[in-house]
Amino acid sequence: MGLLNILKKMKKDEKEARILMLGLDNAGKTTILKTLSQEDISHIMPTQGFNIKSLVQEGFKLNVWDIGGQKTIRPYWSNYFESSDALVYVIDSSDRRRLEESGQELRELLAEDKLGGIPLLVFANKQDLLQATPADEIAAALDLASISDRTWTIQACSAKDGTGLEDGMQWLIGVINEKA
């Protein structure tokens, strides 16, 4: 497991890829990144800026940008759109109360010119929790089926136990690879 191992399967003619990871606060963006690297997730604090993971594999560079999701930080998201190759949008599936807010933020992102046409991976996170809404219901609530200007998928996952994370990233890197 791990991003570096996923990267090994890529073709090497594309020099660099930038993945932007966004979502509301407490969605689990940082935990996803840490779990993908087998790191301890017991002391994660709300991100007050960005966390970047850079991986280099035989000259190919992958940069994953995780930007804080708090309301005060969201106005700064647009500073990180430029030259992104893919968008990962993380949703706390157990937070029914804020599902509408999360969907609204996603719609605004999809309307951004700078993010136009790039592949979208939606992580329906926290599926380990009993009260989690299943991924297909989230897809319906957010009307993901109406997205027609890009390749997208929704992946059920648990950042806590790692379920679904590699599947999602593998899909995404595969799609970036095809485009290259």
Binding site: G2, S37, Q48, G49, F50, N51, I52, L55, N79
Partner: protein, 130 residues
């Protein structure tokens, strides 16, 4: 700054506050890190000020000669933010690896932060493999 075995996520070395007045810091890193196949190096930094074009140049210097250099462009930095940059690198093949005895005390990691072309700070860490 910390360093991990990137395959297990285990922290091999960690250092908290950097003293910017010191010309050079020393780090005692367990020599086992040299046998890790993948190593990650993480920098954690905060900024009160907004920056529009932050970048970093990091060099690994062996006996005064730069061995490797990385450039990373962060771009925009949110005011009052705390940020991390973690870089995962694959180790050289074992036969190409210099022995710990030779490396220890002779390797310096130099990190310079710049906003555009304007240098903000440089930090040098001398590595001892123990």
């Amino acid at each position: 700054m910390n360093m991990r075995d990137a395959l297990t996520g285990e922290v091999m070395w960690e250092s908290g506050e950097w003293d910017c007045d010191l010309d050079e810091m020393e780090a005692q890193v367990p020599r086992e890190i040299l046998s890790c196949r993948q190593v990650s190096r993480e920098l954690n930094f905060s900024s009160v000020e907004v920056m529009t074009s932050l970048r970093l140049v990091q060099s690994v210097i062996f006996k005064g000669e730069p061995l490797e250099e990385w450039n990373f462009h962060f771009g925009f930095v949110i005011p009052n933010s705390t940020n991390t940059w973690q870089q995962t690198i694959e180790a050289a093949e074992e036969e190409e690896m210099l022995p710990a005895e030779l490396l220890s005390g002779n390797v310096v990691i130099e990190t310079t932060f710049l906003d555009g072309d304007c240098p903000i700070m440089t930090q040098r860490v001398r590595i001892w493999y123990v």
